[in-house]
Amino acid sequence: MTRRDFRSCREIRDEIRTGKTSAVSVMQDTLERIRTFNPEINAFRETFDDEAMAEARKIDERLARGEDPGPLTGVPVGIKDNIATTEGTTTCGSKMLDGYRSPYEATVVTRLREAGAIPVGRTNCDEFAMGSSTETCVHGPVRNPWNTERVPGGSSGGSSAAVAAGLVPATLGSDTGGSIRQPAALCGCVGLKPSYGRVSRYGLVAFGSSLDQIGPLTRTVEDAAIMLDVIAGVDDHDSTSAPEPAAVVELGGGFPEGLRVGIPRQYREPGANEPAVEREVDRAIALLREAGAEIVDIDLPLTETGISTYYVIAPAEASSNLARYDGIRYGHRSTEPSGSVDELYARSRSEGFGPEVQRRVMLGTYVLSSGYYDAYYQRALKVRRLIKNEFDRAFEQCDVLLGPTAPSTAFELGAKPDPVAMYLCDIYTVNNNMAGICGISIPSGTDTEEDGLPIGLHLQAQAFDEKMLLEAAGALETLVGFECSSLEK
């Protein structure tokens, strides 16, 4: 009988390396599990059965020859549908890219392979990663494994649901304003958004180029550290990838000595968060204090303004990036008779893009248009600088910031038809992207004891200080003691 598997990447790797199991056996089980459990949550859009089995056989052959395929030996990994793979199709959850077969592979996918991991399939996401619930996906909404009437968060909702449901131990997601961390929080898994430039964006379908980062979703902080170590580093194909060497993180060395944890008071405004979310943050603060951390009060007055700033900058960048979808060289082309190329562009784009994408493209076009550029875009870029300065000042007083990842637990499908209400889901995560710092969501507890929904804690650290971030997250993970496999019971 097929069962959900809640082992970590490290456990699977170690069992394959020591011969306790084989990569082929792990992959057979994984594909069988996805066939069994995926239909109820729609996390995976497609799987690469033949290619994945062939890769698994190669891993076993290499092990038999005495080789070490790497730190992710035989580990099955899901890839978000906006990251290019040469297997299958890269659709971004959009009709625009229906059937698109990428002629090249994203650098992160190549690096996963080189570390012994096996891409097993593609996970659903909001259309062009625009959304916080994975409901804008053209392939149907993804459902939260904890309660299938609820959303998994977004936009990397397929990636978080796949990990939470025990289908695969790790997936890749992308985060432009919270799209890794918020779904990780709503599904009860770990989601790491690296510093801007830490991970190559080559092969990531561009949304907001100054904001986008690829990162892992896993069940443990240790796995997130292993995955980051594999995918990070400079890449000739991405001129914004940073030369800073990736942080080698060794966890389990006890509580980080002298850790200063900042609590931004704006993350805890009265009535802003659900009571259960507040309770979990309080519990985390108490546990950290008891373990020896210094708790520091932090002022981040621009927290709330972040959403407004973000919804000028991100749509502006999106409207520019998505101009490439014109129905000419690739992507959807309208079959309605078009008298001119201009008409063909407009028809193809209107048919290919869903409502949320159209809304953001128009918003971006508007804030960049003549007469409004200074009032909106230029002004937002100045506020972005102030947001960055605010974080810089905060990190003079503390090593990491702690708060909730999202104000609420997973909401019901269809609960947020108003775009602004949906945008506010990312209130605690967007400023991180604008400043280019790093952040992680770790599961803490559930809102109720019976049939509860998971709650995520959000830690943030300075740009390129993933070492500090992951060490603090690892320590906090041990303190809060969340059981990701409790879904099974």
């Binding site: 059937g99 002629p103 000028v312 690739y330 992507g331 784009r349 159209q358 809304r359 076009t365 909106y376």
Partner: protein
Amino acid sequence: MTGPKKNQLSIQEVEKVAKLARLKLNEDQLELYAGQLSSILEHIAELEKLEIEGVEPMAHPIPLNNRLDDDVPGDPMPVDALLRNAPEVVDSFISVPKVLGGES
């Protein structure tokens, strides 16, 4: 409410933005987007209250420098892999409607 409200988009303005964004929208869509975009702009209007005098705009989180590659030939992507995604192909060309002489 008297007169047009600030940060409110009229149907005509949405039509203009849609044209700039190369989107072809019907009446219902124009009306829906006019309402939704207006409520987003209303929310965004809070940015006007901030003091930003003398602040340097920040377009990017890290300093961007031109990175020059050595000019060495690489392996180009195979033409058939690139063309297989094209909606309409004639021989090794991508086919499009007439560009000149159509609608001005």
